[in-house]
Structure formats: C-alpha cells, structure tokens
C-alpha cells in the first residue's frame, strides 16, 4: 500500500534499529516520553520496544484524549443523554469509557439515544435530519480534532441550525507537557513530539521544552520508520549535548502549523481558566470552551450541566501511569479488575491508552485465562 509500506520496510527498519543501538551509550539510561497516544499505539502495534536496546525506555505520555478526560465529564454527558429529546453523539473511543453511571454503550443498550460518529459534521447532519430533537456532540481531543469541531460550529452558525450543540472537552497539549516537566518526579531525557497535533500547531510551541528545561523534542510520524528515525535524532542531540526542537515529520508537519486551522479555532474557542485532567489534576489554561458568540451552540450554556466531580476508583493508579511514574502492568488492577473489555480506568479504554495498548499487544500471561 502506497505511503505506508515504504515506512514499514524491514530492511530500513533494521538499519534504523542498528543505528539506535550504535548511538545509545550503554553506560546510561534513556527515558523518552512519546507524548501522543497515537505513538503509543504504533509502538505497541509494531512491537518497536523489541527493537530497542534495554537501556532505552519509552514512557507513555498524556496525549490520549479519552484517557485524560475526567470521569465526571462522562457522567455530565450521560445525564444529558437521559433526556429522550436528546441524541448524544461521540467518537467511537468514547463509547466504552466508564463514568459512574456506566459507559455510553451501556446507557445506549438501556435505551438512551447515543450514536457513534466519525466526524462532528456527521453529528450536524443528524441535527438537520432530526429537527425535533437536540443533537449534542461530545467533543474530545487535542488540537488535532478541535479544528473540525470549530469548522462544524461555524457551519452550524452559518446555516442557523438551532438544535445542535457541542459539549466541549477539547484540551491543549502544551500545558500538559509543562505540567509533566514541572512535576517533581519527572525524570525524562527527551520527547517524541506529537504528530497530528503538530500538523495544526506546528513545532514552535515546544521550544520552551528545549530552552527552559534543556530537553530535546523531535516531532514524529506514526509509522515504525518514523518513530525509529525520531529516536535516532533524539540520541544524536543527546550525544552532541544539544536540546532543540526538530521535525522528523516534515512531510506532514509545517514548522509554523496550519494557519487556517488555527484561525478557525481562534474564531470559535477561547481558553478556559482551568480544566481538570484525569491523573494530572487541574491545569490552568489547558482547555478550550466556546466563545460567547457561539453560546447558542454551547451545550454548557444551553443545558444544565451539573459539573459532576468523581474521584478515580481508589485502587486504580491511572495518574501514576499517565505521568510515567508507573508502568501499566505495575498498577494493582491491571489485567485483573481492569481489562479492555471491562475497563476501570480510561487508559484501558482507548486503543491509544498505554494500558490498553500494553494489554492488547504485549501482555502475555493473561490471555490464557481470557477474562
């Protein structure tokens, strides 16, 4: 398959893996965080850890939208869906995320009208087709998905569709990276920078990582060869004592980002003063809400959203895993109470979550007994 097979070429992959082994200094440890959940998924799906030297450890970052969404927001959304006049729409990833009331799928089986969509535009189309119902789009995601939500809202406004609103849970990646760097238990040596997010925001926003914290960042693509090349670039920087932002994913990521997408976001969204991140707590200016001009399409302005706060199940250690302090399998619930089929924490839900990725692709003993 064109544009994919080239980046999975066994010979080139072997060469990149050899180069990593050559560059890695055996007398030290490398702890590299891949920020983005898409990278986490690729790393497990392609078994890349098998190709790395033992002293190179990949820490899975917070870039999985479902994983950082606090449980209370899920319950807020599910409460809205209990109204028979409402059609709640969400990306497939959201459907199995448990709140206290259950998952959206369970609510759906009990009769709530909750539908999976692949794009917010599909939700808008549903609103057009069902003028007597209120269609709510449960928006999640980083700067990757925020522009499509923004464009959908612009279209809704232009078309004057009144029965469509967005329950906005969009977050931004840079404050989360800063929170991790500020954390006292931070022991990272460098970052594999987000790929899809960077197609929108570009590479410049990561410069503080290099300048203030002295850690290298390499923005990376998602294919095996992309990720390995990014690791080569990180190792070269470390060996040469450099800390810079570099762009491995040049074929897709422009240094300055996507101006049109950024403009759409700026027109529709503004920063919330603070927002709760699952596992990381409240982070100031880390999430988006709709501007007052879009209040008519803002679920939080049009409906009563209770703002439920739910503490994570005590035994679950999602926060520690999310910050890279614990590995997925070190959590007490991993593979026992918490599995991809019956997830307790969100990291086990999304295929981009570190726990689900680890469970699905690496974890071996559990599969014998199945459930």
């Amino acid at each position: 398959m064109k544009y994919v097979d080239e980046f999975r070429d066994p010979k080139l992959i072997e060469r990149a893996a050899d180069e990593i082994k050559r560059l890695a200094n055996p007398s030290r440890q490398y702890r590299i965080m891949e920020v983005c959940g898409g990278h986490t998924h690729s790393i497990y799906r392609f078994g890349l850890q098998d190709l790395l030297p033992e002293n190179m450890e990949l820490i899975h970052g917070p870039g999985c939208p479902v994983c950082v969404l606090p449980m209370g927001r899920v319950d807020d959304g599910l409460k809205l869906a209990q109204d028979p006049g409402v059609i709640l729409t969400a990306f497939g990833d959201m459907m199995r995320v448990p709140g206290q009331m259950g998952t959206p799928l369970e609510m759906k089986a009990r009769g709530a009208d909750i539908r999976m969509v692949y794009s917010p535009l599909d939700a808008l189309k549903l609103a057009e087709k069902n003028p007597e119902r209120q269609v709510i789009f449960f928006a999640i995601g980083f700067e990757t998905t925020a522009p499509s939500t923004a464009l959908t809202l612009m279209r809704a406004k232009k078309m004057g569709i009144e029965n469509f609103t967005v329950f906005c849970n969009h977050v931004t990646i840079v404050p989360a990276m800063r929170a991790i760097l500020d954390s006292p238990d931070m022991r990272l040596d460098g970052f594999i920078g987000p790929g899809h997010v960077s197609t929108v925001i570009g590479c410049r926003p990561y410069e503080f990582v290099a300048k203030e914290f002295g850690k290298p960042v390499v923005t990376s693509g998602f294919e095996p060869l992309d990720l390995l090349q990014s690791m080569v670039m990180l190792l070269r920087q470390m060996n040469e004592g450099r800390a810079e932002v570099e762009n491995q994913y040049e074929r897709v990521v422009p240094w300055e980002g996507n101006r049109a997408a950024l403009a759409a976001m700026a027109q529709v969204f503004e920063l919330r003063p603070y927002f709760e991140w699952r596992g990381l707590g409240f982070i100031s200016q880390s999430a988006l809400k709709l501007r007052p001009e879009y209040a008519q399409w803002d679920t939080e302005a049009r409906f009563t959203v209770e703002g439920v706060r739910v503490t994570d199940p005590k035994a679950a250690q999602c926060g520690e895993v999310l910050k890279g302090v614990l590995k997925p399998q070190q959590c007490k619930l991993f593979g026992k109470e918490c599995t991809p089929e019956r997830p307790v924490g969100a990291l086990m839900v999304s295929s981009e979550g570190a726990c689900a990725a680890y469970y699905n692709y690496v974890h071996r003993a559990e599969a014998v007994s199945g459930d």
């Binding site: 992959i13 850890q49 497939g92 799928l105 369970e106 089986a109 690496v362 599969a367 007994s369």
Partner: protein, 342 residues
Amino acid sequence: MTKPSIVRFKDAQIELAHGAGGKASRRLVEGLIAPILGNPSLDDAAQLNLNGSSLAFTADSFVVKPLRFPGGSIGELAVNGTVNDLAVSGAKPIALLSTLILEAGLSAQVLQEELEAIQQAAQIAGVQVVGGDTKVVEHGKADGLYISTSGIGLVDSRVNLAASSVRPGDQVLLSGAIGDHGITILLARGELDLEADLKSDTRSVWPFVEALIGMAAPGLRWMRDPTRGGVATSLNELARDARLAIKLYEDQIPIRDEVRGACEILGLDPLHIANEGQFIAIIAPEYAETALEALRAVSGGAEARLVGEVGESPAGVVYSQTGYGSSRIVDMLVGDPLPRIC
C-alpha cells in the same frame, strides 16, 4: 482438564457486543447459554451419531444491515453461513431449513429477490432447502428481514477434527484474503465518506474443504470459518482450547489494499474483521504443502497461504511476528466495532 477457566456471565443486560463474536459473545455462550442448556460442549455445529454415520447439525441467523451489499445479500449469506459451519466441521452439506422473520411493510419485490438469492446460493452450494417457517412482525420491529437457517451435513469419515488434536509444529492455512466482507458492509452503509472497489467474499467453502479432505485428510486437525470477530478471534479460541501458542507471520496474511487502507483510516485490525467465504485449517506440517496446493487448485483458491505455526508457549496466546523481527499479541475482538455484519 476440559477448559482452562470457568467463564461466568455477570453482565446485567444484553449489549450489541454480546453479538459481535468476540469476548462478550464467548462469555454469553459459555457462561449462560451452555450451562443452562446443560451441554458443556456447545459448538457452532453439533455432531450426532446415528446408526454408524455421523451427522453435523447447525443453525445460524442473519440480521445484516443493509440487506443487499456489493457481492451478496442476506439470502446468500443465510445459505453460505450455515453451509460453511457444516463444511468446517468436515461435513458435506446436505439440506437446509430456512426461517424468515418479515417486517410488515417489507416490499414483496425485496422478498422475492432474497428468496431467489437463497435458491441460487443453495444450488451453487449443492444443498436443498427442504423446509422452514415464516413469521411476520409489526412494522418497526425487524428492519425488513431476518433469516435463520439450520443445516444438516454428513461428516466425512476420514477426518477427525478437534482442538485437542492440534500439536506444536502444525501449520496455519488460510483460504484467501481476509476482511472483505466486514469492510464491504461497513462501506455499504454509506455512513462514512469512504469508497472502495470491494465486494463481500460470501461463498460456500465446501469445495475447498472437500479438496483438503481428499488430499490431506490425515493431516487435517481443526477448521473454523472466521466470521464475526475475524481470524484473531477464531485463532484465540483455538489457542485457548488447545492450550498452545499460535504465531502468525504478519507479512504472509493476504489482505487487499482496499481493506488495509480502510482499516488504517478507521483504526481497525483486519484480523478482527468478519469474513463470509474463508476458513482457517490447522494442518500437520508434513501435509502443509499438499494442503496448500489442494486449495490453490480449486477455483477461487489462488490466494490461499500458510500464515502461521502452532507452538508450545506462551500457551493460550496468539501473536504476530513482523517482517523486521518484532512481535505483538493478537487478542480477541473486544467490543463491537461493526454491529450487525451478518
């Protein structure tokens, strides 16, 4: 020891995932249906021994949406699905019963077309539709048409298929490209702005099984048609039942670019996508090449491949090896990415 673990059904209600063929389906069947019906060895097809000959007996139901799709329709699926359950039990399909559940308001034209599809598929598969039943439910209760078929077949005395006869070193034979049916249905629903030149693979696999039995019966250990839940789910069931490991060679698995592309875009694994005209056979190593040649010699069998090998450990696990020396676990399907695929 019969089963490595006792499965309990603790779910409070039925969800679509219970019909998806993956983990939840297994829990429902092994944790609720089989214990209550009092038969621990419920299977897709049962074997009944009568006066010295062995009969395979099976039933399947079809709720696919939409009713027609590129490459087939619900009527054709209803025949081939049941025929294939018999075939992979090593049984030559003989006769079918067909039950139609019709929704008031269904166009007579559509019904006629589906009856013709049933008749035609039965003719091609060499089975007779010998009876059935028809019920009508209120408008809004059945999405047009549901079909349930049951089938009976004569088990070939030369084969003895069982997970327990699978041994380390056995080869995994796959009859052709995977994922065509599931992706075709997904695209046929028109909910995604994706198009591809793809059609369902629905067909009777009996001619292939017959050829395999003819050439390699003593080496034939186990067969399954990987419908809902895909190849990954079928092989996980085998790995678990046989308490052995199954290694797949990722670069040997035949997958069309259209299927790969759709899966890349949608974040699906082709190994989890449903097939309606393929089967997996586990073959003793000394018969593997003969078996492969036998399949390839049948019209429509050119894409058959040896795609993996049975090993001792890690027991109960299916894993896939990439062309560049890394490996990953291939788990059963969890949840339901594509409801009502057949």
